[in-house]
Assembly symmetry: C2
Homo-oligomer: 607 residues x 2
């Protein structure tokens, strides 16, 4: 199975065109300015001295790298001399400060600490992101300065880790370089990059690796050799970057054992450890996976980067196996956790994406004693001390068309529905759609013999026509297959009636509660849009939903029926609660927290 | 209104006789042994040196003092040469180490720190508890050695704080000495003790006090002068010890402004900040009151000492105002939070009394990263580093008959129902009852013209007979009044049918859930007694309850009807949950965690 990468696709109109425009015109500049202000660009000059402001941090190079990669992706679709100049300047500085041996790390180069002694210090992680940026910028512009820097750096890394074995550890504490090496291999075809990727993956968690580091730790997926890992464990971003590279490696090497781990780990996430929004990481401690069915809403961590990393892992799995479960997870992430990560104006970001906010908790403690409880942010911020998420979201959205298609010899698989035109030397495929606002997708496929359309798992009612004639193709692994479709117009109509989602009773946190979806979009209730305590609302599961177009969120607001209790004075009473009828306004989850601090919840009590 | 103190009452049989026997025969020895083992008794010798084990802690003197007071209360009702010897030895050591000036603090005397410089260091708190112990031990035995020590110490404290004003602060960081001074005043009639009490209370939170300390702080009730405080704030035990003394002072001085604060604060607690178990303190941060209606079950702090302190505050309010709301709160505490604090075998104690336990959370994080979440204990312990609760519970239960009666010129108010005989020089009153297991109370009142019986707020069906003839006395402020009852046998029959309790919808944590009570006893479900996930159980609010006598918990177990969901594989589904009928076993809340670590919940989902 081959990927049709986003470079071949133009997003023409509709929902995602607005998002890619926003990222290209607003977000990428905003992230640049915030990084500039906080010293991250200056740090590349490796001139910081003790006492200077803005002390370089171990992950700053990765922030810059993800921003460069975002610009590279944007430049694939539009010229922007200003952005290109910013990147060229940054690359010049990096190149000028690369050490003779090849090493570059703007934090280590200005600090006393001996390099390659601390596995948790993100040196290889930063190198990985810088390598991804170098590949992307070369592809976008043909400029190879950063690529040259990174190839030289990789030669040095190869010598230190694979030949001299002189580092204090064998595998990186934060995975990332593994998947970046695959990208370089895909660009160059040079097997040594695949070999280095194998080196880091194969050694992870094995006896020698553990011996070097002293502890076997789930946090960094080092508790077992990767081929023995069958469940998702530890820090979610680390984990999914590893799993992404594992899937890539399995695909290129045909390693069935590695593939089996990838499949089992994916199912462990999708069937037991994933929020309805596609978020992962139930706990802020360790930003980590916890135990199956442990998915608290209020304290959900659901880091933005984690959801993105799961989308990439899922995408790699799609290249191996034609099963819509992978594309379903991607869709869940796209329309929920990924988009909630960025504000509607494109300027601010969530690092943590909770599934509920209870504003009364914000001040429950602060006046009573000096210690404060951990409280998640209730509004997005433009930059964080640990600002991994903002440039990750910009590069993700700028390359969102990566998720559209895969192809094998005779079939084009359509995984996502986005208004777009994709051209390769073999075929041209056009989608016309207002999805997810509207469930109709018109697809014209020129030069394609057979097309496979994903029927989303949420969709229980759809119809298909080919050149106006209704057809009833068989559904297999979540796809319908239409043969002899060359030059035909295929129309897929998905029923977009909002519906109730019942969480598994194995999730102890949602007892008595349900969620609402319209298509792939998960909804939530916000306090600011309802004039009652939303936590006391009980949704009538038989309700019809009114749909009201909401300009600010670019989609529909829903109105649902239910009841709210009449507030009683008694704290505890033998009198049953009395209720009055009420209507609740729901907005897409991704649009929450764009109207100031407010109560919010996805899972609502019901009857 | 006058108190009839527990010394005049013999608890004859029934529920509370078992508890007072347990405390006298098991708990008080167990606490002694644990304190002995952990160096607390040795510390009184003030001989600890750096490098020695068991470094004395600032609150150790108060642990010993509360244990001495427990023994004093026990000695009122039974001889025990062994316990008396332990106390005499401890008092000898204290007396031998009292400084010439009168100071005694076993922690400060072996450390370098300058005395009276740190308001948060519990010096006056320890003095207060030691004073309470001295008064109690003198009353029980006539021995005045500790009383002499403490009167000398008080002279010194008076000089330092009221005359020389040489301390770095004016009022104690942890209240306690105020209420102890009232007890000494009640013993001696010497107004100077009342004056010192007034000094500490009147200065708290006023401008000079704040100036000395630098910060006005709710945590220690120092945010406002006490007469301007109208809500319960800060550290619960500190708060209620203060409120107890404020109520005492208002009663003795007729200070209406102070009384108004006490009344409003009591209502703030009882109507907005109290768990169904009588527990207070919604947050472990600061062990503090938070905001109204913030009563989470899983993270409830509900410190044992806090509930006891609220009972004492309520008792003082009963001496001012004949309103059953005060005795209702006492009853709520007696049969729930106070008793849950101690194990059924009398050996172990809870410091924190949660209203729910979810065992799956215990291991959700530890394997994923190095930091651990705060998790409450799921089983009782024999001793804590901060062991304030165990000897507080023993002294509370040993003097439980303090809560039975108050009297004014012509009426005896019966606040609690305990099988007992109370004799004063004016009257003898006997209660025969198996309450709370049985709702019938037979009362014989000799030498009493008028008796007032509290009808508990939970009780919505009762009958009364006088010498066998049914009467229908008016209910006023929660009491029924029976005139000319001298030598009569009065029988109160309360309907003990278990019932559903509906929490106010203002409490956001219990939406869709209810509790179960039988009389004053709150029930809970435990995982170990039910073969399904108790968090997924839905209680039928129309259920009948089967009552099964439970020997270990000394009361009834209940069986209720409801339903549980059929577990589905899908994490999120459009298919509504399916249910099957189920029965749930409930036990008294106070008996939870006596069968090993287990899930537990008080508030159950319902339909």
């Amino acid at each position: 199975m081959k990927m049709i990468d986003f470079r071949k696709t133009d997003i023409n109109n509709g929902f995602w065109r607005k998002k890619t425009d926003l990222v290209s015109e607003v977000s990428v500049f905003n992230v640049y300015n915030r990084f500039k202000e906080t010293g991250r660009f200056d740090a590349l000059g490796c001139a910081w001295k003790k006492g200077d402001p803005y002390e370089p941090h171990i992950f700053w190079d990765s922030d810059i790298a993800k921003w460069i990669e975002s610009v590279a992706f944007i430049l694939e679709k539009r010229d922007c001399a200003e952005l290109e100049k910013y990147v060229d300047d940054a690359i010049d500085t990096i190149a000028a400060n690369q050490e003779e041996c090849g090493y570059f790390n703007s934090c280590y180069q200005v600090h006393d600490k001996e390099r390659w002694t601390d596995r948790t210090d993100h040196e290889l992680y930063c190198a990985g992101h810088m390598l991804e940026a170098a590949v992307a910028y070369f592809r976008a512009t043909g400029k190879r300065k950063l690529l040259d820097v990174m190839e030289k750096y990789l030669d040095y890394i190869r010598k230190v880790f694979m030949e001299d074995k002189s580092a204090s550890f064998i595998t990186p504490g934060h995975e990332e370089i593994e998947l970046a090496l695959i990208k370089l291999y895909e660009l160059t075809g040079d097997k040594k990059h695949l070999e280095m990727c194998s080196f880091f993956i194969d050694n992870r968690g094995n006896d020698v690796d553990v011996e070097y580091r002293g502890v076997a730790h789930k946090y960094s997926q080092s508790h077992l050799p990767v081929r023995e890992q069958k469940t998702a464990e530890g820090h979610c971003v680390r984990a999914c970057y590893l799993y992404t590279a594992m899937a890539d490696l399995a695909r290129y090497t045909g390693d069935e054992e590695l593939l089996d781990s990838c499949k089992k780990i994916f199912d462990d996430i999708a069937e037991r450890k994933m929020y309805i929004t596609g978020g992962i990481g139930s706990s802020g401690r360790g930003e980590a996976f916890t135990i199956p069915y442990d998915l608290p809403d209020l304290t959900a961590y659901s880091e933005s980067c984690a959801a993105l990393s799961l989308a990439w892992f899922s995408q790699r799995m799609l290249l191996i196996e034609n099963d819509s479960k992978y594309a379903d997870v991607i869709e869940r992430i796209l329309y929920n956790n990924a988009l909630s990560s960025i504000s509607l104006d494109g300027k601010a970001f969530f690092y943590v994406n909770p599934l509920a906010i209870r504003t009364h908790l914000l001040n429950r403690n602060t006046s009573q004693c000096d210690t404060k409880e951990y409280l998640p942010l209730t509004e997005r911020k433009e930059v964080f001390d640990c600002s991994c998420c903002p440039p990750n979201i910009t590069r993700f959205i700028a390359s969102v068309a990566d998720f559209l298609y895969t192809t094998d010899d005779d079939t084009l698989y359509v995984h996502q529905y986005i208004d777009s035109t994709t051209k390769t030397d073999k075929f041209t495929v056009t989608q016309k759609t207002e999805y997810p606002n509207n469930g109709t997708v018109n697809i014209t496929a020129d030069g394609i013999r057979r097309i496979a359309l994903r029927i989303p798992a949420w969709c229980n009612n759809f119809s298909v026509t080919v050149d106006g004639a209704e057809v009833s193709p068989e559904l297999r692994n979540g796809y319908i297959y239409i043969d002899n479709c060359d030059s035909s117009v295929i129309t897929l109509s998905m029923d977009m009636t909002p519906f109730i989602v019942y969480p598994s009773s194995k999730i102890r946190d949602y007892t008595g509660r349900v969620a609402v979806q319209r298509g792939p979009v998960v909804y939530c209730a916000e306090g600011v849009r309802n004039n009652f305590n939303i936590m006391s609302f009980r949704l009538d599961t038989k309700t019809d939903f009114k749909e009201i177009l909401c300009d600010t969120c670019g989609s529909y607001m829903l109105v649902a029926k239910g009841k709210i209790p009449v507030e009683s004075e008694a704290l505890y009473s033998r009198e049953p609660e009395k209720f009055i009828n009420a209507e609740i306004k729901l907005i897409p989850y991704y649009a929450f927290a764009n109207h100031g601090e407010s109560d919010m919840e996805v899972f609502m009590f019901c009857y």
